[in-house]
């Protein structure tokens, strides 16, 4: 993915995030609070028959965290829990510079170069850790 497209994707999802506005009824809610900085997002996910049927979020966070949440939530809706787990694993590997499957990640490849700014890794990982915590509660 070229640099310009990455930037566009991040900015588009930051300024017009997907499913912003937290729904709680019938959802599992998790606060994604970045320990090292000030990001503070609530993420909620609705699961039916082992499938993510909806995902929402709200809160205040930086461009990287907010956009990554938007893109990630967009991607997981409609997927089975096991598919999401696989996706999260690959996404986290990409951020942490471990081997990962590019084909699975699509738009999330926008964060491919985050490792070049190590202090921003936690921002990019914020939503995936929160979603992982939600899946643990199932």
């Amino acid at each position: 993915m070229d640099q310009e497209l990455k930037r566009e994707l991040i900015l588009e999802n930051y300024q017009h995030p997907f499913h912003k506005g937290l729904k709680k009824d019938g959802y599992i809610v998790e606060n994604a609070n970045n320990e090292s900085c000030i990001d503070n997002l609530d993420i909620s996910i609705k699961v039916e028959d082992g499938k993510i049927v909806d995902a929402t979020f709200d809160g205040e966070a930086c461009a990287i965290s907010t956009s990554a949440t938007s893109i990630l939530l967009k991607k997981i809706v409609g997927k089975s829990v096991s598919e999401v787990q696989k996706l999260l694993e690959n996404y986290q590997n990409m951020i942490e510079e471990a081997p990962y499957d590019e084909a699975l990640l699509e738009e999330l490849l926008a964060y491919q170069d985050i490792y070049l700014q190590p202090n921003r890794k936690t921002c990019a990982l914020l939503p995936s850790r929160a979603v992982q915590n939600i899946l643990k509660q199932l």
């Binding site: 930037r7 900085c37 000030i38 966070a61 461009a63 990287i64 921003r120």
Partner: protein, 398 residues
């Protein structure tokens, strides 16, 4: 001023995060090395020259601190590991014993976590009541609002001398006088005031004062707790161990030393105390009044220049202290801080450890640039220049 004395300033970095911690002049670093290279020994323990000499210097620094904050006796100066430990010592070692259910502690929502959290825990533990003095429209604390908040149940006033986010210089003298007459205990968090303004615990009737070495040119891991003798003598130690006891037997007979040693269990940060000594000398040589005045000059300069940038909103314009909090419109504060980092400008983003302030202020997260005497107008020009170009912020940070 005095930039040549600070090794960190030789780097191509503009340091505007002095509210978080200050830079250290070489004399402070040298003093710490001097301890390790030439004294090395533990204090109050050895019967050899270097231990004796190190003890003499260590205890001598109490005199330096005493004089710096206008205290009466050097025994009223306790070395701790920082403001946080100093405040926790007072709150759990003194207030917990003295207060009872329903007693009121007056404070504000602008206080730092190190003051509010232990008070909130004490509220849960023994049922004291925390009452928050309303802030003014500019989020400062006025004497009038303080007086209106006092009730017959008010036993303690616990506030910062200068607040951590807004930077307002609290009317300590008026509040202290009131507390003295009304027999209310006056506890002051001096973390942001002691490094920047002249402190006088007697004139301001301060009963307990807490502050940190690292925000006033000194080393990290060291702080001070000042307490009026008759009060400090009643503080229960937070920790028990070496150097603070006179004698003990296995059947539970313990005799503790007098203050201040009683409140300094274990080997203290000796090298750091050596460093703090030089830090205070350094500040005294410049003069606290001069430091305060220069910081106000820097702030006024910033405010004048920032007028050229309508997309930047400053939230503490009318506050005279040496820090500014602002946001670029529609930009999250952390993104601004990351953007400025690309220009090698260090600022702080967030709620600055005063997380209850968001209940009073419409903006929870801000960028804070906090100045010290070694900052310059030229550095502020660089900040202004970077902020002027902020329409390309996302091109820079993404």
């Amino acid at each position: 001023m005095n930039r040549e004395d600070f090794p960190f300033l030789k780097k191509d970095i503009i340091y505007f995060d002095n509210g978080a911690t200050s830079l250290k002049p070489k004399v402070v670093l040298d003093a710490m090395n001097d301890y390790y290279e030439n004294y090395a020994a533990n204090i109050h323990r050895g019967d050899y020259d270097s231990s004796y000499l190190a003890s003499q210097i260590y205890d001598g620094v109490r005199e330096r601190v005493r004089n710096f904050i206008g205290a009466k006796e050097k025994e009223e100066i306790v070395f701790t590991k920082g403001t946080t430990e100093s405040l926790n010592t007072v709150i759990f070692g003194f207030l917990k014993k003295k207060l009872k259910k329903g007693d009121e502690v007056l404070t504000t929502k602008a206080e730092h976590a190190s003051l509010l959290l232990p008070l909130m825990i004490l509220e849960k533990e023994i049922g004291i009541k925390l009452t928050f003095i309303p802030l003014e429209d500019d989020y400062s604390l006025s004497y009038e609002n303080f007086v209106k908040s006092v009730s017959a149940k008010t036993k303690v006033v616990a506030i910062a001398g200068v607040s951590n986010v807004i930077g307002d210089d609290r009317p300590l003298n008026q509040i202290g006088s009131y507390c003295k007459d009304a027999q209310i205990l006056f506890l002051v968090d001096g973390a942001q005031s002691v490094p920047h303004t002249k402190t006088d615990v007697i004139k301001d009737h301060i009963d307990f004062l807490a502050f940190s070495s690292h925000k006033m040119l000194g080393p990290t891991g060291l702080g001070v707790l000042y307490g009026r003798r008759e009060l400090l003598e009643q503080v229960e130690p937070f920790e028990y161990g070496g150097d603070m006891n006179n004698t003990f037997t296995s059947n539970g007979e313990i005799t503790l030393k007098q203050i201040p040693s009683r409140l300094e269990a274990g080997t203290p940060p000796i090298a750091e105390v050596f460093g703090l000594d030089k830090a205070i000398c350094y500040l005294e040589n410049i003069g606290m009044e001069r430091i305060e005045q220069y910081e106000q000059e820097l702030k006024a300069y910033f405010l004048e220049k920032i007028k050229e940038i309508p997309q930047v909103e400053v939230y503490n314009k009318d506050i005279k202290g040496g820090s500014v909090i602002f946001n670029i419109k529609n930009v999250f504060s952390q993104d601004t801080a990351i953007y400025l980092n690309h220009f090698h400008i260090c600022v702080r983003a967030g709620s600055h450890c005063a997380k209850a302030l968001k209940e009073e202020m419409p903006i929870a997260n801000t960028v804070r640039a906090s100045f010290y005497f070694y900052n310059t107008k030229e550095e502020i020009d660089c900040l202004i220049e970077a902020l002027k170009q902020s329409d390309r912020l996302y091109d820079v940070i993404l």
